[in-house]
Symmetry: C2
Subunit: 270 residues, 2 copies
């Protein structure tokens, strides 16, 4: 392979293995090239990413050295994606009975979930989580894409225990509509001392996110952050104190057939 | 940007948008370069992918021309991944009561689910599906990654109808253990005439896959294929006639603590 071919192949590998620490030897063996050659290649990749304004490449020096890549969006890509999502979600055709907004098509489409996941990953990468926790079912595509962008495992809390998950920790919680729910996480899935990033697609009262924070605590894990794709403007006071929401569902009027979704404040709510 | 930088940025864009038809104008605008320059860049990318032996780039000529990229693995990558998964799954520590094998850690890890998804995508890309259908919960990560590699939307069948999915089609089916189950798919999610690729993580009797095939039929869609990550050797006769399985769970002995998972025959079963 010549340099052009190696640059393409390296970028392909990095994109397929986000978050992984890839030693220089991984590249030298794969391409049959000297360490100095690969180092120059990686410097060119880094330059290109900086020129493009998106993606983060970290170089680790020394014997255990190598590179890590995260597919984080540029500020412009982020803004463009969020504004487009607001436009799509503000379509009155999405209004469902009870003032719900249909968003399953967006969160289950891998192109959208990957973009949203990368935006969420950028908000939390510096909190250094080491696992992403979500709850079945609609949270899974986003959580998987957040985990993918960060190179972390994902854990799915279930509504009830399953033989296929092995022994588990179960807790009960009260939803915003005052019903009792169950949440269960496999003991094999989450470990003591883990730093958990809680991710969900939607937050109203915040009871589900609260339950995820609590179940993580019961399992000896700590919470690195809570991130949701869309949260409702009301109630303003949620059951989790600190969370990041990408979009805010400001208002739905089932009769007038209007819905308004806007980018959330970038700041963490207190 | 110079050529090296463009090659890196182009490969990054292609990796982030698999399956999408990206017109040449997309690149010329983004990089402020002439069409002829971008065409040369893309030819170099194609050469590099061919030298690397993985990934597929298709060039469409003409006014509506452009390129499409799919992150398909090379034959060697595929074999390496499947053998490593067999090794991991054949660990006796994974045996659960009832002869189940714990595999949630692998299918929910984005690095593994992306690799498995790309292998599955390669098996079905020529069947030209236009949507991936799975059922909650454990099928979702794999199905999302298959959909991602093919650039297709994913649809999740639910166990019961939800207000957030809108009106739906529901059917009942009988599992291998003779229990009645319900499966429901939102009318907004699947369209008449769609070519559906059914994906699931595990198949024993094949009742769940059969139900997905049936629900797709009820909605006026046709089936482009059925793909599962692991199927059991017994029963040999499943409720779907044609399917592709990547791995076969040959045997689990709860008492002797042995489990054997092997790569499945590459051929479609009849």
């Amino acid at each position: 392979m010549n340099r052009s071919q190696r640059l393409v192949a390296i970028m392909k590998l990095l994109s397929e293995r986000p978050g992984e620490l890839l030693p220089l030897s991984f590249f030298t063996e794969r391409f049959g090239a000297a360490k100095s050659t690969i180092s120059e290649d990686l410097a060119l990749v880094k330059e290109a990413l900086e020129a493009d304004g998106s993606g983060r490449l970290r170089t680790h020096a020394g014997a255990a050295g190598g590179v890590q890549y995260w597919p984080l969006p540029s500020r412009e890509e982020e803004q463009e994606t969020l504004l487009e999502l607001c436009r799509l979600l503000s379509d009155p055709g999405r209004i469902l009975p009870g003032g719900f907004v249909y968003m399953t098509d967006l969160i289950t489409h891998p192109i959208w979930s990957a973009r949203i996941g990368a935006i969420m990953a950028a908000r939390f990468i510096d909190a250094e989580p080491d696992v992403v926790l979500t709850v079945e079912t609609k949270g899974i595509p986003l959580a998987l894409m957040v985990a993918r962008a960060l190179g972390l495992p994902m854990v799915v809390a279930r509504r009830e225990g399953r033989v296929t998950e092995g022994p588990s920790v179960t807790l009960h919680y009260i939803s915003g509509s005052r019903r009792i729910h169950t949440m269960t996480v496999g003991l094999r899935a989450l470990w003591r001392g883990a730093r958990v990033l809680v991710v969900d697609d939607f937050m109203k009262a915040g009871a589900t996110a609260r339950a995820m924070v609590d179940v993580a605590g019961e399992m000896g894990a700590s919470v690195a952050g809570v991130g949701v794709f869309v949260s409702t403007a009301e109630p303003a006071r949620k059951q989790v104190q600190r969370y990041v929401s990408l979009l805010t569902l400001e208002q739905v009027d089932e009769v007038a057939r209007t819905v308004r979704v806007v980018p959330a404040d970038r700041l963490t709510k207190e």
